[in-house]
Symmetry: C2
Subunit: 400 residues, 2 copies
Amino acid sequence: MEHRTAEATVTVTRDGRPLAGQEVTVAQRDHDFLFGCIGFEFIDLANGAGTELDRRVAREWFELFNFATLPFYWGRFEPERGRPDTARLLATARWFAERGCPVKGHPLAWHTVTADWLRDLPTDEIAQVQRDRITREVTDFAGVIDAWDVINEVVIMPIFDRDDNGITRLCRDLGRIPMVRMAFDAARAANPHATLLLNDFDMSAAYECLIEGVLEAGVRIDALGLQSHMHQGYWGEEKTLAILDRFARYGLPIHFTETTIVSGHLMPPEIVDLNDYQIPDWPTTPEGEQRQADEIVRHYRTLLSHPSVQAITYWGISDSGWLGAPGGFLRVDGSRKPSYEALHGLIKGEWWLPPTALVADAQGRVRFRGFLGSYEVSAAGRTTTVRLDTPGELALDAAL
Amino acid sequence: MEHRTAEATVTVTRDGRPLAGQEVTVAQRDHDFLFGCIGFEFIDLANGAGTELDRRVAREWFELFNFATLPFYWGRFEPERGRPDTARLLATARWFAERGCPVKGHPLAWHTVTADWLRDLPTDEIAQVQRDRITREVTDFAGVIDAWDVINEVVIMPIFDRDDNGITRLCRDLGRIPMVRMAFDAARAANPHATLLLNDFDMSAAYECLIEGVLEAGVRIDALGLQSHMHQGYWGEEKTLAILDRFARYGLPIHFTETTIVSGHLMPPEIVDLNDYQIPDWPTTPEGEQRQADEIVRHYRTLLSHPSVQAITYWGISDSGWLGAPGGFLRVDGSRKPSYEALHGLIKGEWWLPPTALVADAQGRVRFRGFLGSYEVSAAGRTTTVRLDTPGELALDAAL
């Protein structure tokens, strides 16, 4: 984890004089690494209509995560043309932002869960409303949401045959690269400061070919989104590292945008489109929970071991989200599974510096090693903050 | 087959006067459609060292095919740097050309069967010798070979991990699209009149993404090569048409560059790289031969039904070629399988106009429908040739 940690030498002064020989307490406040999760289930709570369970789950959420993904599926965000769900989502995004949590919107263009009313439009009008939609959302949320999964699953977008939809038709008409360019150009113009992602579940050479084509065409991508829904079983370290190796070649930051590991039985391997697996009940089990906890630790360790990974977004803290799967870290009653404790043991344990008492040397210096992020430095009743922002040796000043 | 046939009205004149009411014989001479096959096994024969079996097989070959593919695998063509096998291949290509058969070279760049000595070179020198190699072959064979599979299997080229080789290293270093551009630029410069193909076995969205990236980057591709080695079973009409539908989107001619259907047991479906299936003996069987004949007819009918397909190259007329598979139309003793007769029944039967006696009308006109290609028109001891070169109604003159 050399690339994730710094060895800080902090010179602590009070009123300009080094606090030689005095006790100094250092305590980590946050991680630079983005430990993310979807926040779809807090829309009601953020809009003043939450239940007691929502509040409990939210407390657990913020104890673990520092990065939220909110839903912008067109078909749900604007089921009736011209009546977007902007106000509720903006309130939700602000609710996260006020709690120190950057927010990403997902997605601005996708062929699934897209607006039904696109189907009735001619293709060139779909292009126009898709552009307008991107411009509207990215503009409306700028400053609150400055990261977007701009376009989702382009590898299959023009050949998706599960249902007739306007976006597949548009992408087939334009070609994948012009489609990506159109979406990114609209998002970039609306918010030049946003982090814009290309996102896909396809970990094969197809996504590599798409990325290479898009980059060769001069479209600027800020980060590559790799999905990792593992309802059919944990990938394992070897496969995960091989994928990282292939997608790190482009020199772009990598976000694991959609991670799921279930704590119940695995989805059968023959299911190709995960959406096809519809069962009435998918229970979490004690053995499954132990396995999930173990695999979550292995997965997060593997991802953090690779320097290209900047974010991991888990696909739901609670069970019975997408597909009714027991993929959460909390059971439906809000109780913690072993996976919650295990991940907490990394994010707020092994990878975290709790309040630690040190004694400054004759020059007022204290030394500590920690994960990149912010730290409180306190002595003699005063407190300030320093930030470990680059790996390796760092010399910092803390003026109290 | 409307798009493959013309309804010709030929006005037959002798010394400028219409041959009103006279008998005119029309006979097809060749097909515009490229019914191809590899000609790898005729190199000895073309260089004066063939056996009696070679001669028999060659007669069968020319009775069926009008388009040959010759091998330019770098590792075999130039196993020792600076000593290419040019003379033998040039003699072979001329041997085909003299028999009216256009020739395609396969391939100019590929990570498999590439020259071992590339491994010892630094990557930028590999780029240089790869360019030089393409320039040399395309120049040396221009006028005899004017069609090339320029680059093969780029989808997996940079991630091919079966053996260490210089081309994978180069492609990984350059990226797929610059690699394709480099190869096409060198080939195009060496022979501006050549038909240049991109060729792949990957029929998934990966190849689509690659093609879209390459076209978007402005590289001119003359035809798309789709492999169809069906050692694991015939694809069937539905899959084949779906593939054609997807790859026809680019408006480019499609060549089925490598087709195999076996007349023995099928390769198990779990084999991913067909080269992994190494068995001592893979016999042709009576039931397998019947199935193969049936599937060959279905496959060729399906491909010709699609207007984008311009060529089908079968991967070896005789058994025991690649992988020792019983994929030929002839058994190892040179005898015809049912598949030979079945395909012959299409190419020189159902899709062919045998010598046909017609009677010219009062204006000296005869009418016939036939597949695009050349036809001999004979009357009163004289003969000329007309060509049906576009589908639909055609008015032609035959001056005897």
